[in-house]
């Protein structure tokens, strides 16, 4: 009894309490489950949706970490590995260059698979895709630190490890999509290719849409100008 009272009054206890309230055990467990998915992709991604081991909160966290690590990479990776032309860098565009293809993939994948017996819902595809990104922040942070201790000749180590992190992400994505949609190997690959096509189609439509909008606005604007001149 006395013990709990001390805990309640102490700062540490307060913070712990806040954490417990904010991030419930479910959140931590689902986040920890991403580590299980790293090494057990088939089993892990099956449980992710079918056993509801994954959460949006954890998926968002992984995505946020990925974007954050990518941004930190720009600044803290040694210039021996990569040089950044800061004058030309737009951080928001750079972030969008990660998030936009991801969003396209999620929507494209869901749109194609849902027509062909894919069991995954849009949200599940999103969670699965985000969980598949786990190796990226996990490997890139140590690599970022490592890069600052490398010379040109040793840069190969970095390149190989960095490639491994990306390939790992790719394999997880393939495994994950297969399990979420309950597809077999061949069908899964086929629909991943379809998803890529769907992405292209969406980009095409978006470009068409924006150019039409621009034309439309341009038309009404010139009409307005004409009106001003004549009035």
């Amino acid at each position: 009894m006395a013990n709990t009272e001390v805990k309640k009054n102490s700062v540490v206890g307060g913070i712990l309490g806040w954490f417990k309230k904010t991030f419930d055990a479910k959140y931590w467990d689902s986040l920890k489950f991403s580590l299980y998915c790293l090494t057990h992709p088939l089993d892990g991604f099956w449980d992710l949706t079918h056993e509801k081991r994954g959460t949006y909160a954890a998926a968002n966290t992984i995505l946020f970490a990925t974007v954050l690590v990518r941004l930190l990479n720009l600044k803290y990776t040694s210039f021996v590995i990569q040089t950044v032309y800061w004058e030309d860098l737009n951080v928001w565009l750079y972030i969008a260059s990660i998030l936009f293809p991801l969003a396209l993939f999620v929507i494209g994948n869901w749109a194609t698979t849902t027509l062909f017996d894919g069991k995954g819902k849009l949200g599940q595809v999103y969670i699965g895709t985000c969980y598949a990104l786990t190796p990226y922040p996990l490997m890139q942070v140590p690599l970022m630190i490592l890069s600052n201790g490398l010379t040109v000749n040793e840069a190969q180590f970095y390149t190989v490890l960095s490639a491994i992190s990306l390939v790992w992400c790719g394999l997880l994505l393939i495994a994950g999509m297969g399990q979420i949609h309950e597809f077999g190997g061949a069908k899964n690959i086929l629909f991943l290719v379809f998803s890529l096509f769907a992405m292209l189609v969406m980009i095409f439509i978006l470009m068409l849409f924006f150019s039409m909008i621009t034309q439309g606005i341009g038309y009404f604007y010139s009409l307005y100008r004409e009106f001003l001149f004549r009035a």
Partner: protein, 550 residues
Amino acid sequence: MMKKPLHFQIKRIGAVLAAAAIGILSVPMHSDAVEHRSYTYIYDYWGDVQDTPDVYEVFKVFTSSELGLPERLNNPSGIYQHDGYVYICDTGNNKIVVLATDPDLGLVYDHEFSSIKLAPGPSNLSGPTDIAISEDGNIFIADKGNNRIVKVDSNLNYLMQFDLPVDTALSPDTIFLPNKLVVDTAERVYCISDGINKGLLKYEADGTFAGFIGATKAPYDLWDYIWKKFATQEQIDRMPVDVPTEYSNIYMDYEGFIYASVPVSDAQALDDLKVDSVRRLNLLGNNILVNNGNWLNCGDIYWGSAGGYSGPSSFSDVTAFENDIYVCLDRNRGRLFGYDDQGRMVFGFGGNGNMDGYFRRPVGIEHIGYDLLVLDQADCSITYFVLSDFGQNIYNAIDQFDRGEYEASGESWQRVLDADGNYDLAYIGIGRSLLRQERYKEAMEYFELKYDDENYSKAFKEYRKEWVQSHLFITVAIILLVFLIPLGIEKYRSMKIEIATSDVFRFPDPEDNMTREEIREYHKKQRQEFKEREKAKKEARKLAKMGSNR
């Protein structure tokens, strides 16, 4: 130190205003032309144009009347400097004009000659295009109109001549049109002949032909090859023929290597690294030019069509100083490009125009000490460039480094940096000077500023070695911890199980009076039971966990 004349500066200001006016008046003008505000520039690590102070300044432009020549120069095509004398090949007037150098006036007319004595063939020169002088003072003249290279002594007495070689590689109707030549210390002659694209013609000192060296590769394209397989004969005839480019000019440097310039016109081939703009040939004709710069040593790296000029820089001549900086002359845009021994850009300046320091058709470049002479064929003039204070600091820094005066070199580079904070080589130069002084940490900072990863790695390697040595205890401790902690945890776990399952803690009841066999059996059973208990515990924990997740 000679200062830039005032009239030149006024002209420059006029040029800027004129350029601005043209920029406003003509709408479809490429922005590149307006961006080049400064006369001298370099390309930085990113390929951005960085204005720099002038490395070379025009001392004077020498025209025929300025020199007091008896006859106006007519279509001069060759310039050569030997022992303080400058030889101009006045091709149109069939003679060679000799100018003396003067510390105050620059160049003064000395004499000229148009004929040679005791020649078995024609004694008058016909359209001489180049001249070279050996160490013994013998003069070699590319007498193009007479289809020969003549060798005469210093009094112009005929010694011997070099003719078209008898070689199966040449078609029988080839005409010998020697255009450019150089002579090495053993009086071997290397020559470029119009219409022969198999490389340089090499003659031994006794006049025998020693073969072709340094042929440029013909650009080869797989796509072209496939396309030609399907094209009709008429189509093939209309296609551009892939022949190896001829060299435009050659220069023998102080070490006896031949610098050769290539007039590149195919931008795609340059992009694909299939052609070199400039080469340095060894005795076997192999290109030994180092190209470690951030950008190719091909002159301009942006080929925007501005002012009526398009395509890559096309070098018409090259010259090399004794500090291994070589200067290429671009006849396309009338610019000069200097590169150091690593192929890094030192300067680029010039342009097409009528003002001092600009050219109309530059064909030849030579140097006296570190001063540059550029021969303009259309203008019939020689532009005399002198090194500016800024350029002097650059050259001092390079020379001092080569001599091993690293600290002084660093100071010279610092002076360069004070004048121009965007000069990449200065940062790298200071870094290299610090590297030699074993101040690795500071050197690394300078290299990092200009992204020189090779030198940075050299410095960093030493710095890392030093750091490890001075922090030996921590390094060893970290390495040990990295390996020992996981090992320790593993060991701890297995020991825990070992202790828990050990026979020592579970004895059979002594009253049972067991035999040895029975005791062994008992222990076995105990271990089995323990393992099962542990397993059950684990299972329960897992279940509880899953329950909490639901």
